[in-house]
Symmetry: C2
Amino acid sequence: MRLSRYFLPILRETPKEAEIVSHRLMLRAGMLRQESAGIYAWLPLGKRVLDKVCAIVREEQNRAGAIELLMPTIQGADLWRESGRYDDYGKEMLRIRDRHERDMLFGPTNEEMVTEIFRAYVRSYRDLPLNLYHIQWKFRDEVRPRFGVMRSREFLMKDAYSFDLDADSARHAYNRMFVAYLRTFERMGLRAIPMVADTGPIGGKLSHEFIILASTGESEVFCHQDFLTKPIPDEDVDFEDRAGLQSLVDDWTSSYAATSEMHDEAAFGAIPAEQQLSARGIEVGHIFYFGTKYSAPMRANVTGPDGQDAPVHMGSYGIGPSRLVAAIIEAGHDDNGIVWPDAVAPFSVGLANLKAGDSAVDTACEDLYAKLNAAGKDVLYDDTDERPGSKFATMDLIGLPWQLVVGPKGLASGTVELKRRATGERETLSAESALARLTQ
Amino acid sequence: MRLSRYFLPILRETPKEAEIVSHRLMLRAGMLRQESAGIYAWLPLGKRVLDKVCAIVREEQNRAGAIELLMPTIQGADLWRESGRYDDYGKEMLRIRDRHERDMLFGPTNEEMVTEIFRAYVRSYRDLPLNLYHIQWKFRDEVRPRFGVMRSREFLMKDAYSFDLDADSARHAYNRMFVAYLRTFERMGLRAIPMVADTGPIGGKLSHEFIILASTGESEVFCHQDFLTKPIPDEDVDFEDRAGLQSLVDDWTSSYAATSEMHDEAAFGAIPAEQQLSARGIEVGHIFYFGTKYSAPMRANVTGPDGQDAPVHMGSYGIGPSRLVAAIIEAGHDDNGIVWPDAVAPFSVGLANLKAGDSAVDTACEDLYAKLNAAGKDVLYDDTDERPGSKFATMDLIGLPWQLVVGPKGLASGTVELKRRATGERETLSAESALARLTQ
């Protein structure tokens, strides 16, 4: 993408309304614009990151055997009356009347609707296990939305729902998502720690929050420091292997880890002092096993091998991709701007032409741009006539993993400069060597 | 994908509520489920088609120079009061009050919001031309939603918005989208005919609807039959070439083509009788040039090269991917079910195991499944123990372009059967030859 034809509205000033660093940087880097309180437009640079985050979420959901569908944003109130949550949900639910005065709502979550879909089609244990997920916009009418997309009213959520014959199978479904979540966050450059969690309005008894550590985190967390280095299951983990998955999950839940809500001072104190980790954390995922909480009142029954009908056992599994984008920035930034992990960077290379209009520099840049594109790299080519200092500042601010800088002085001696954003390391080398490095 | 692990709820009965063939087939093929009046969940098979349609739309928008962002579904009413459309829009707009009693709405379109984004950042003609698009769920509270996703209340729309300094440049922007639309529909196997259109509530003077012919179409259309065979611009069309694009558009608009609303009996009568085409059509896209209709009241001004400020010239360009899925089915089906064009088929190959549990058949199928997947093909492998007749009926109903049938009799003589859904042609050949055919 040529910057001269792109839409990247960088702000030179730090916006006053933004209280946390991810919000400030997303506004300054032209990723986001607030349209109403807690409601944001994703500008082109932000949309690219959101898409990359969603692609990773989707790949790992599919790998774990979940199947993608897409439920609508607007739901009928009757479904929620069936489960009993319509009145319980309170003012966070955005309630709507349509032109025929029917009660509708903008879905804050989809347990009811997916249960309705399930009961419409599935009758037998032979069609289980089943895990259906979607990635769709949700709305929660927070009384005081803030922190940008970290706590917005309209937000994107991946929510998966598992259906199983009994509690044992449902536990396997839970474990699949547990492992998929470890892999998902790791691929985005985040170390997420599963912590025993309260189940809140979703309900149920078994629940984990996945928390990343960041000094700007919303809550205090306590855990064994082993979690920071524990190896993540690799991509050929066998999701069909019940015992194998259970022992992975046992391993990941045997050490102490809890948010302040669930904190047990005595258990934490039993960890040797030098291995205790207390820090601030950001929730990036939440998984629940809630058995028959929805299937029983909504009569989502299946016939078992014994011919008996019983309510299906369910769990739900959420990740907020829009919130994740902010969390990734909270975990990766410096004084100059964002530092994207390679896997979710909006472009992998920023190519800076330090003297647009100079034919030697233009030619060298066009050649590099064409070759990087041909190699399948996402390149943002700064072909504008801004001065070099401003170009460097923009590149640092938007945080692309590699900066490839081409100027007349270097070219005269046959070199370009390659900078790694994360470390600040710079190297002077030939254009060919730079290309080889970036496309290896 | 193995059918035994997929979620494909085929209906054997024809649903009574569905009035048109695409709606019936989408329900029967397990693509869609109605959740409320005019509000649908896209089941996994439907979601795959929707994604493929969106991918083509996106590629052609990007090729034409449009830039993707993502605006939210919920908008503040104040923006619409600025443009004057809040009161005009009537009951089709889904109006919402949030918990703080602020007037909000579920966006039926985004002219106001994108104009707000534009004016927040762009000041100078040097940042033009600009075309911003998104693919997002919209809501229009139709008094009588029907025909499934052909006229639903919640629907997916790609809407692009162009910004230019003057009417001439805006015409070039319009022409870019005109040509992009021709290419977009052609790639989905549709022949769309641009017809002079009424501008309705969007406003403006220049507008074309893109109409495909289908006997079940919603409106009567009249055109020269040359439109059926006119060559479509190929993928290296130069979108920067103003004169070239204008002559392409002139060529596509010089012959008579109109919907019944804009029909001119005399002009149509001037076409030689044997070249007159009157038929029924379905609108699949609509483009508008409306000048300063939104930019003037909303004060979206740019400074020109002469230093003078003036309201920016705008156009908007819509395609409904959810409606397109239905339109593609209206244009491509037979008595047995859907006939997908290759480019948007949910899977390209259906592999039918006629005797699951037979080790020779299972082995042959697993081998074909692995090799087709390795070659990058989307394969739906029917590994269930349904009887062959039912498998054939399902394959025909869901309309995958190729059916690869593996049974014990054929295998005994070293053959499998390959069927082309569109023509019904069947061929008996070795597994190797079938693979070569499908992956060539």
